[in-house]
C-alpha cells in the first residue's frame, strides 16, 4: 500500500496559491467596489462616447463615463493642455497625433497583459509609433478613410477624382474639413505619395506653396469648411452642400434622416486614420481607464461603436455582434480591401507651417 504523501513544499505552494487566488478575488472585488461613484472622463472623437456602449460599462462598475469631443488632432492637444493635465483620463488620438503624444510623454504606458481583448486586435493596427522602450502606450480602436461623400440625388454618378471639387457645376456646394488635412489631399492629387506614402506629411516648401494656391482657388467653390462631423451632417441635411470630404458617420447619420448620401474613394486614393485609445499622463483613474479600454476594444464594445459611427472595428470578432449591412459598411470581414487603399495620417513635423498655410487659405490672404 502506497500512501501518497504530499511533499510539504507542494502543500505549501497549493495553500499559498489558493490564498493568493482568494486574495486576488478579494482584491478584485474591492477594486470594483472602490470605483463606485467615480467619473471616467473621455476626450474623444465625435461618436466615441455614446451611451449605447458607455451605459453598460457604467452599470457594471457603478461609475459615470463623461465624454468631451475634440475636432482635430491639434484641437485634442489644445484641450489637453487647457485641461491642465488630469482633467481627462482616456483620449482617442488618430495617427497624426498618437506618436507625438507618446514621444512628448503626455500619456501613460498600458500593461497589455492585463487586457485580454488586446490579442484579438488586428496586427495591422498594432504599430510601433505608440511603443517606447518596449512599452505600449496606445490600444487600436477604430479606423477608417476620408471618403469623398456626395449627395447621390444631385450627383448621379460617383465622382472618380477629387478634382470634382473644382468642377464649376458644384460651385458653392462644396465642403472640406477645417484642418490641415486638406493639404494632404492636394499632395495626394499631386501624386506625391506614389513613391513615398509619407511624402504627404513632409511636403517641401514648393509643394506647400502649390497646395496653398490650389486651395485658394477652391475657396469660391466652398460653402463652408466643417469643423465637426455634426456640422457637416447639418450642411448635407440642409442641402447647403452636395459634395465633401467626410467620414462614414456622416453618411450613416444623414441617411438616417431619409437622405441619399453615398461615398467613394477617387482614383487618386485617399487618406485615413487609425484611432488609438490612450491613458492621459497623471490620470487619477488609470485602472478604471484600462478596464474601459479593454471593454470597448472587445468584440461587443467595438460592434456597438461601429453601429454608432460606421467606422471599421479593429477587432474582427466584432462581426458576431453586427448586422450584415453593418459588416459590409465597415469592411469588418474584408479589412484588407479597404485598408490597402488608405494612406494613413502621420505626424506632421512641420505642422506650424502647415497650420500657417491653412490659416492663409481661410483668410484668403
Amino acid at each position: 500500500m502506497v500512501k501518497k504523501i504530499w511533499p510539504v513544499s507542494t502543500v505549501l505552494a497549493a495553500v499559498s496559491l489558493s490564498l493568493l487566488v482568494s486574495c486576488g478575488e478579494k482584491e478584485k472585488k474591492n477594486e470594483s467596489e472602490s470605483f463606485q461613484g467615480k467619473t471616467l472622463s473621455l476626450l474623444v472623437w465625435e461618436g466615441y462616447a455614446d451611451p449605447k456602449f458607455t451605459a453598460e460599462f457604467e452599470k457594471q462598475y457603478g461609475v459615470k463615463v463623461a465624454g468631451t469631443y475634440f475636432n482635430s488632432g491639434d484641437d485634442l492637444v489644445a484641450k489637453l493642455k487647457a485641461g491642465g493635465g488630469n482633467a481627462y483620463d482616456v483620449i482617442s488620438p488618430s495617427g497624426d497625433m498618437a506618436g507625438f503624444l507618446v514621444q512628448s510623454d503626455m500619456v501613460e504606458p498600458i500593461d497589455v497583459s492585463l487586457m485580454p481583448n488586446y490579442k484579438d486586435l488586428s496586427p495591422k493596427l498594432v504599430l510601433p509609433d505608440v511603443e517606447k522602450n518596449g512599452k505600449v502606450y496606445g490600444i487600436p480602436y477604430m479606423w477608417g478613410p476620408d471618403y469623398l461623400v456626395y449627395d447621390a440625388d444631385v450627383i448621379k454618378e460617383a465622382p472618380t477624382s477629387w478634382s470634382v471639387f473644382w468642377d464649376p457645376t458644384y460651385k458653392g456646394k462644396v465642403s472640406l474639413y477645417d484642418d490641415i488635412s486638406n493639404i494632404y489631399l492636394i499632395g495626394q492629387m499631386m501624386e506625391l505619395d506614389k513613391t513615398d506614402p509619407a511624402a504627404l506629411y513632409n511636403m517641401t516648401e514648393e509643394q506647400l506653396a502649390f497646395a496653398r494656391k490650389k486651395l485658394l482657388e477652391l475657396n469660391p467653390a466652398v460653402r463652408k469648411y466643417w469643423v465637426s462631423a455634426g456640422e457637416l451632417n447639418d450642411l448635407f441635411a440642409n442641402k447647403e452642400v452636395v459634395v465633401s470630404v467626410g467620414w462614414p458617420i456622416t453618411v450613416k447619420e444623414v441617411n438616417e434622416k431619409g437622405r441619399n448620401l453615398k461615398w467613394t474613394i477617387p482614383k487618386e486614393g485617399t487618406t485615413g486614420w487609425i484611432d488609438r485609445l490612450m491613458i492621459v499622463k497623471g490620470s487619477k483613474n488609470q485602472k478604471l481607464a484600462a478596464l474601459y479600454i479593454n471593454y470597448i476594444v472587445g468584440a461587443k464594445g467595438q460592434a456597438l461603436t461601429a453601429e454608432v459611427t460606421n467606422y471599421s472595428p479593429g477587432n474582427a470578432k466584432a462581426a458576431a455582434f453586427m448586422s450584415e449591412d453593418l459588416q459590409k459598411a465597415t469592411y469588418v470581414n474584408e479589412m484588407d480591401s479597404l485598408f490597402a487603399k488608405i494612406n494613413f495620417w502621420q505626424y506632421v513635423a512641420n505642422r506650424a507651417r502647415y497650420n500657417e498655410i491653412w490659416t492663409e487659405v481661410k483668410t484668403g490672404k
Binding site: D74, E205, Y225, N238, K239, E240, A352, T359, K362, K365
Partner: protein, 302 residues
C-alpha cells in the same frame, strides 16, 4: 479721540467693502493681462513655450509670411466688418429708440423690454436661428421664391460676410439701443417745446436739439457695437463662409487652440488691446465733448 476712532473704523469698513473688488480686479484682470503681456514676448516651440525675450511675434503679425500677406490685414478686415455692424446697429437702434421715446405713449416699457428680451436667449441659439432663416432652404429664401422675386435660392444670405453682419447686428442692437434710449430719455421735454415755441419745425428741432443731445448716447452705443463685434469669434465661425469665418478674434482663438501658439496669440491680443484702449480714449473724449446736458442739467432747467 472718539472722532479719530470712528474715522479709523469707517476707513476699516471701507477697506473691507473695497477689498473683494480689488482682489477680483487683481486676480482676474490685472494678473491675466500681465501674463498675456509677458507671454507675447516669448517664443513658441512644438507645443511648448520657450521663455526667451524677443519681438518675433509682433514682427510676424506685421510682416509678410513666406507665402502669404501680412496677418495684420485680417485685423483691417475685422475693423471694416465692425464698422458695418456699428452703422447697421445705429441705423436700427436710433429710429427705434426715437419712436419709443417720443411716439409711443402707452406700453413704452413693454416695447423697450421687447428689444432687451433677446439678451436673455443664449448667444449660440440666436446665431443658430439665423442659419435657419438665411439658409439655402431657409425661411427667407422660401419666402422670396414664393413671391417669385428669385428663381433659385440666394446663396450669399448665409455663410458670407452678409450673414455675419446680419447676425452681429441682431445680437448687438440691444447694446446700442440702451444708451441711445437713455440719452433720448434725458432730453427735457421743455427744450423741445422751447424749440417749437421759437418757430423751429420738427426737422430743425431734431437737428438742433434732439440729435446733438443724443450724440453722447450714440457714441457710447456705437463704441459698444464696434468693440463687441471686433472681438466676436462665434458669429463668424457659425455664420461665415470659407473666407469670412476667420476674423482677428478667430485667429487669436486658433493660436490658443488648434495652432497651439500661445505667445503669438498673446501678441495679437496685446495689439488688439492697445487698439481698443485707444479707441475708448477717443470716443470717451468725444462723448465728453458733446455732453451738453451735464452743464445745463435738466434739474436746473426745471
Amino acid at each position: 479721540m472718539r472722532q479719530g476712532n470712528r474715522q479709523g473704523r469707517s476707513r476699516f469698513v471701507l477697506l473691507g467693502i473695497l477689498a473683494p473688488a480689488v482682489i477680483w480686479l487683481v486676480l482676474f484682470l490685472i494678473l491675466p493681462y500681465f501674463n498675456l503681456f509677458s507671454f507675447s514676448f516669448w517664443q513658441n516651440d512644438v507645443f511648448t513655450v520657450r521663455h526667451e525675450f524677443n519681438l518675433l511675434n509682433y514682427a510676424k503679425f506685421f510682416t509678410e509670411s513666406q507665402t502669404g500677406a501680412a496677418p495684420y490685414l485680417v485685423l483691417l478686415d475685422t475693423l471694416k466688418l465692425a464698422c458695418w455692424v456699428t452703422v447697421c446697429t445705429l441705423l436700427l437702434s436710433f429710429p427705434l429708440a426715437y419712436f419709443i421715446r417720443f411716439k409711443v405713449t402707452r406700453y413704452k416699457q413693454a416695447l423697450y423690454m421687447l428689444v432687451i428680451i433677446p439678451l436673455w436667449v443664449s448667444y449660440i441659439m440666436r446665431a443658430y436661428s439665423w442659419k435657419i432663416i438665411l439658409g439655402t432652404n431657409g425661411i427667407l429664401n422660401s419666402f422670396l421664391l414664393w413671391l417669385g422675386i428669385v428663381d433659385t435660392p440666394v446663396s450669399f444670405f448665409l455663410y458670407s460676410d452678409v450673414s455675419v453682419i446680419i447676425g452681429m447686428t441682431h445680437i448687438y442692437t440691444p447694446f446700442v439701443l440702451m444708451p441711445v434710449y437713455t440719452a433720448l430719455e434725458q432730453i427735457p421735454q421743455n427744450l423741445i417745446e422751447a424749440s417749437n415755441d421759437l418757430g423751429g419745425n420738427r426737422l430743425r428741432t431734431f437737428l438742433h436739439v434732439v440729435f446733438p443731445l443724443a450724440l453722447p448716447g450714440i457714441i457710447t452705443g456705437g463704441t459698444y457695437a464696434f468693440v463687441l463685434s471686433m472681438g466676436d469669434f462665434l458669429a463668424p465661425s457659425l455664420l461665415g463662409g470659407p473666407t469670412s469665418s476667420t476674423k482677428i478674434a478667430n485667429i487669436v482663438q486658433q493660436q490658443f487652440g488648434t495652432s497651439n501658439n500661445w505667445p503669438y496669440g498673446a501678441a495679437i491680443g496685446i495689439v488688439i488691446l492697445v487698439l481698443v484702449l485707444g479707441l475708448l480714449e477717443v470716443t470717451g473724449r468725444l462723448e465728453r465733448h458733446f455732453s451738453k446736458l451735464e452743464s445745463t442739467s435738466p434739474r436746473t432747467l426745471r
